[in-house]
């Protein structure tokens, strides 16, 4: 099983970026929220693996429909 890692980089002005690896689906949003704290959110984007769970479900649905 792929390890779920969170990398937080805090720059010289104290602003941060949070990079998630090994997470899929809506769990990402919760983890980002955990590390956001009281901070103001800027750029946020989902990466390829986020969509993998959705893709799996669709594959399963198509298979079961055969």
């Amino acid at each position: 099983m792929l390890q779920k890692t969170i990398t937080v980089v805090i720059d010289q002005n104290g602003n941060s970026s949070v990079d998630l690896e090994g997470f899929a689906g809506q769990g990402c949003d919760k983890v980002l929220k955990d590390f956001q704290g009281d901070d103001r959110a800027g750029v946020q984007r989902k990466k390829a693996a986020f969509y993998s769970k959705t893709g799996d479900s669709r594959d399963q649905y198509l298979k079961s429909g055969q």
Partner: protein, 137 residues
Amino acid sequence: MSAYGEFETIMQEERFLVEGLTAMGYKVEVQAAGAALVGYHGDERTETAHVIIRRAQLDSASNDIGFVRGADGHFRAILSEYDRSIGYNEQWLGKVHQHYKESQTMAAAKSKGYIFRRKEVIQTSNGPQIQLQFVAR
């Protein structure tokens, strides 16, 4: 890879501000009701603050540096023109925010059950960046 987010640090929690300043080597005075800042002549100034670095820890001609909690709950720094000119400027405030965010991140991760893996300080052309890595249970 699954998600990426960027956040602007807002200093709202006194304990992380105190921890951050302490990590930078300052002895900090916390005044719940606020206290007057002292100028370089030893005179009490009109400005008050809730978190104070007394001038004895700064330059011989420095004034106290204060952090006052505003109506919005955010801390803002009170820095004299002289102190800004000798290095207690925006760059220094950036370091304060950086240490604040490190303390806040460590506390948030612990309270939410994430496991701390490692810390690295990466030197960049803009200054040092702190990299913290955690794993989810």
